[in-house]
Symmetry: C2
Subunit: 207 residues, 2 copies
């Protein structure tokens, strides 16, 4: 009995061993770039395994597109997010299309500037596009606002770690704009107060 209890506690401390994220939006919203930066940051700054992927089908043209990230403490055999723990929907089409795949206890995050009809009360609405426009002056960086929120909500990797990768990836001349957007996303989540969310293992140590 002692052994089992010990195991249980260890499991609790470790958090979830596999964590699936799906970002959904339309083609021009930069969700793949956000997913790639996030995945590289987790890889670079934690000891976890990460797989990042996107699928394109002929039917995707003009419709909802998606990018996925799977984080695990073990090597990842199946890299698709079949039952996301977190779905971030950047528009109504993505919310409608992908909501049914979300794990029952999963978190839905929507861009409340663009998603009016939210299919669950267990959701977090943040106006990514509006924040990008009002605080940075460019709707284009709504993806970086979303990246900031994603970082803050999942706690899979530190904001500092993500920002480092972000600044190395974006074109010169857009660094300040992207940093500002990213930080605005973090602030927006902090303003929501204490959320009790399932999340991947806490960041123990930055590498």
């Amino acid at each position: 009995m002692k052994g089992r209890k010990g195991k249980k506690r260890r499991k609790e401390q470790k958090g979830l061993s596999r964590y699936e994220i799906r970002l959904g939006g339309s083609g021009g919203q930069g969700i793949i770039t956000a997913a790639r930066i996030f995945a590289e940051a987790v890889s670079e700054h934690t000891r976890k395994f990460v797989c990042q992927s996107q699928s394109y089908g002929p039917e995707a043209r003009g419709g909802a597109s998606k990018a996925e990230i799977v984080i695990s403490e073990e090597p990842i055999d199946y890299p698709k997010a079949t039952k996301p723990d977190l779905l971030l929907a950047m528009n109504q089409a993505a919310c409608d299309t992908y909501f049914s795949d979300l794990k029952s206890e999963g978190i839905l995050v929507v861009d409340s500037s663009l998603v009016d009809q939210v299919p669950t009360s267990r959701s977090i609405g943040i106006p990514f596009t509006e924040i990008a426009r009002k605080e940075v002056g460019k709707e284009l960086v709504a993806n970086m606002v979303a990246l900031g929120a994603l970082t803050c909500l999942t706690k899979a990797v530190s904001p500092k770690g993500v920002e480092k990768i972000l600044l190395a990836k974006v074109p010169k001349g857009t660094v300040e704009m992207n940093r500002k957007a990213f930080r605005a996303g973090i602030s927006a989540v902090k303003k929501l107060g204490d959320l009790d969310l399932p999340k991947p293992e806490e960041v123990e140590e930055e590498l």
Copy 2:
């Protein structure tokens, strides 16, 4: 019998129904960017399904990194390239690490500026890095030279289709440099003459 023959002919005309590509190199060589552009071009300009992914492990740091593309006429369930039809190795470490996964009749393409020891005679050597340095003046765009070669070797999508995506993705101010590198990669393959390679379905029609 007539039916079976007809089916066989159709299969030959259609080419391979699933085609796996792996690009291997080191972190800074831009293989993920090349893979992403290629995948988006196939998606945008053909009727095929595409999945593009990258896996990162704690062990990947500083070593060989990879990006994968799976192209299929049908929806893709398993998005990893377990037995690549084409492996493009941008350095010796990638060649050494990934060669054993290559399908027995698969094609190995190496950056001959950086890979000295090639494990098979069934390989194509193109000096991507040297071409980038000599013809464009920037080693940084070796990935775009490789993208040109990949496009020309696989014939999965037209060079024009890939170039269109490429020009939309790269930062302003680097468009000419990237275009030049991409075209240099195409020329390098054309100079090799007629290669009898297995390839995905020919491009029938640009969309």
